[in-house]
């Protein structure tokens, strides 16, 4: 499978690389860019980045396996991130996560990102989303939701087209 990267994205990436004194330093930014574009980081993406930054694929692969935020498999159309760090945990994010999972037919005990059968939703129990004052919080793709009760979570999910 060859990678189809639009000219616009490629020129953005090339501009990104110039921000750093060493090409290698742009690895993370490029991974984010390709994950945002394709929804996940494929083997082809890793190899493309390695070539772009004059690295060996293993150097990029190391990063992808280190950071939980990089996905090597495609996720659902909507990725729901439920915060699990202290303030949210105290605010009941454990129950919230369980609720979201059962609503979407997923097992809350599973580790890592999991996707509903219809491929529409992925749920991930993540570390701090940086809004401790309004716990518990969730993110649905790039939308941030604060003080999320189970009912509010249902609404958020139901409103996804």
């Amino acid at each position: 499978m060859s990678l189809n990267i639009p000219q616009k994205l490629e020129s953005e990436i090339e501009e990104l690389i110039t921000h750093y004194p060493e090409k290698r330093s742009a690895s993370m930014m490029l991974l984010h860019a390709l994950q945002e574009h394709f929804g996940y980081v494929s083997k082809e993406s890793i190899e493309w980045i390695a070539k772009k930054l004059e690295l060996k694929p293993i150097n990029v692969h190391e990063l992808v396996t280190f950071y939980p935020m990089f996905r090597q498999e495609p996720a659902g159309k909507y990725v729901v991130k439920v915060c699990r760090t202290l303030s949210c945990a105290l605010g009941g994010s454990g129950k919230l996560h369980k609720h979201v999972c059962s609503k979407l037919g997923l097992d809350a005990e599973n580790h890592g990102l999991q996707t509903s059968e219809d491929g529409k939703f992925s749920v991930e129990f993540v570390e701090c989303l940086a809004s401790c004052g309004t716990a518990p919080v969730i993110m649905c793709n790039n939308e941030f939701h604060e003080g999320v009760s189970q009912e509010k979570a249902d609404t958020i999910i139901n409103q996804c087209p």
Binding site: K43, I58, E62, T65, F66
Partner: protein, 571 residues
């Protein structure tokens, strides 16, 4: 004049005075790093200089410093500084020493990693204090948390740093009650390497070697935290020509050689100092053998030749020594091609008689540049006696820009220095062919080469009155020889080679030769004594010294001068 120049060049070495375990020692301010560039002397290097070994996993003198294993932590004290940036003195005028402590708990020591901390004037290093021991025990315990406790079935046992340090610094009982993290086992990392991730201590020596020394950035650490594993990129193999060096580097049983694993316990093996014969680099090696069977080659440190490395191709090129078609008998063939197996006494006697009848100028000698200097010297004596035309068979292959040379003969320069071969090896072979076909050359002595490979066909060989072949393995030429003398592999005898750069290096005997095969220099000498009036020395060191004395290129160096690392001559 020359002396004055030398004097001017010698600069006094700048030193630093430190205290190691209570005794004051002076160490050079700088010491070579892994590439030989001067860097401030580290605690580990300083301690090594004064004979104190500090345990370590990730540090290796020939690799860049990583400082990740923490095994070399030592307790260090530094002279305390006053507000005026001058050392605070004790009442007796000695500097007051302040030991490193943890900022949040001053009752606990803060160690320094010896591999990456430079020494400073008046530093106090404690390699054996209670605090140092405590830190070592702690590190070792954490390294052993997820390590399988199955040394009895581990192939590294006996040469495992984890095992050794556990004996010295470890605890008999594990405090760890949780479930161990399981990681991939028997990972096929490459065609010659097997990886057991559970045994790995993540020192990254293998990663640094292949990236910085072999220049093939093939390995990395994937996953996170307790799940860290060494891996190659999925779908690609770790298969450069230097991969087996990572097996030597691996301080534990994580990386093992597919060729050697589970073949022999290391403590049963005898180690013999030798030289690799696969190309003209002449990498220094240790031969591991037991009961006349060779099990492995390992590189032996020699900074003038191969540092601490060798190529995989050379390392695995030993199996032919035990091949079934080794020549094991002395054979004499009559006109009807009927051969009889005889004793050495008989074959030398009969061969000498035949050779005595040969006319000067009617003899050609094709020797091997795989033969030792001592053997080539004896062959040269024969050649001079018969005024024979001589040469060696060139052996060209691919080289690289690291250790492998394109000249696959280990002793080309020896053959040239002794006068058997010339700048362009093999240049005389067409001449010899012509001489035989025109009937000028009636006798051909072939030592250690299969002459049918260099274009001497049956038709040509049939024109000879006498064909003498000595070799290690059977060949078509050996089947045709009137006299066949079984020779020895270099692992079965002593001798010396001159490498590509003119370094004379010796190799020692590791195993016995099979059957009647005998070190070539022994019977070559007998032949020389019988055929010529010469009386060459009758010991190998004696022969070397004689050769060196009679040969300007060797400049009179003695066998004992070679030591275990060899010595350079001008070529």
């Amino acid at each position: 004049m020359a002396n004055e120049t030398t004097k001017a060049e010698i600069k006094p070495v700048e030193t630093v005075t430190v205290k190691v375990d209570g005794s004051r020692v002076e160490v050079p301010k700088t010491t070579p790093d892994w590439q030989g560039n001067p860097i401030p002397t580290t605690i580990l290097q300083a301690c090594k200089m004064v004979g104190k070994e500090i345990p370590h996993y990730c540090y290796h003198p020939k690799l860049p410093v990583a400082g990740n294993c923490r095994m070399c932590l030592v307790e260090v004290g530094m002279p305390a500084m006053g507000r005026d940036r001058k050392p605070i003195l004790n009442q007796d005028g000695t500097p007051k020493i302040q030991k490193g402590v943890l900022p949040y708990d001053p009752s606990l020591p803060r160690g320094a990693i010896a591999c990456a901390t430079p020494v400073a004037p008046n530093m106090e290093i404690h390699t054996d204090s209670d605090n140092t021991k405590m830190m070592r025990e702690g590190i070792l315990e954490s390294l052993l948390i997820n390590h399988p406790l199955d040394c009895t079935i581990c192939d590294q046992a006996g040469e495992c740093k984890l095992q050794e340090y556990s004996m010295e610094h470890g605890q008999a009982k594990s405090q760890f009650v949780e479930t161990k993290v399981s990681k991939p086992k028997q990972v096929d990392l490459g065609p010659r390497i097997m990886l057991d991730d559970e045994r790995c201590v993540l020192c990254t020596r293998c990663i640094r070697f292949t990236r910085d020394v072999a220049h093939d950035d093939a390995l990395g650490i994937v996953n996170r935290g307790s799940y860290n594993t060494i891996a190659a990129y999925p779908g690609s193999k770790f298969d450069n020509n230097y991969t087996l060096n990572t097996v030597d580097l691996c301080p534990v049983g994580a990386l093992t050689s597919k060729d050697f694993r589970f073949q022999m316990r290391v403590w049963f093996m005898k180690e013999t100092e030798s030289i690799c014969t696969s190309c003209s680099t002449g990498c220094n090696i240790k031969v591991g053998s037991r009961e006349n069977k060779v099990y492995r080659y390992e590189p032996r440190d020699n900074d003038a030749v191969n540092a601490s490395w060798m190529c995989d191709e050379g390392r695995l090129n030993y199996k032919w020594v035990h091949r079934e078609d080794r020549l094991k008998e002395c054979l004499i063939r009559n006109h009807n091609s009927e051969s009889r197996s005889v004793e050495w006494v008989t074959i030398i006697q009969e061969l000498s008689e035949r050779l005595s009848k040969c006319e000067k100028g009617s003899v050609a000698i094709l020797a091997s540049a795989r033969a030792s200097n001592e053997e080539l010297y004896l062959i040269k004596l024969l050649a001079d006696h018969f005024e024979a035309i001589t040469d060696c068979v060139p052996r060209k292959g691919e080289g690289d820009d690291f250790l492998v040379q394109s000249d696959k003969n280990p002793n080309s320069n020896g053959a040239r220095a002794i006068g058997i071969a010339f700048s362009e090896m093999g240049i005389q072979i067409p001449e010899i062919d012509e001489g035989i076909s025109e009937g000028r050359i009636k006798t051909l002595l072939s030592f250690g080469e299969n002459i049918t490979r260099v274009g001497m066909n049956d038709e040509l060989l049939a024109k000879l009155d006498l064909l003498v072949v000595s070799d290690i393995l059977g060949s078509h030429a050996a089947d045709k020889a009137d006299f066949l003398l079984p020779g020895c592999a270099h692992l079965e005898k002593r001798g010396s080679f001159v490498n590509e750069k003119g370094r004379v290096q010796k190799f020692m005997k590791a195993v016995e030769a099979p059957g009647k095969a005998r070190p070539d220099w022994e019977w070559l000498r007998e032949l020389v004594v019988h055929v010529t009036n010469e009386k060459p020395a009758d010991t190998l060191p004696g022969l070397f010294n004689e050769m060196s004395a009679n040969n300007a290129a060797f400049g009179g160096i003695q066998w004992k001068d070679l030591g275990s690392l060899g010595t350079d001559i001008k070529i």
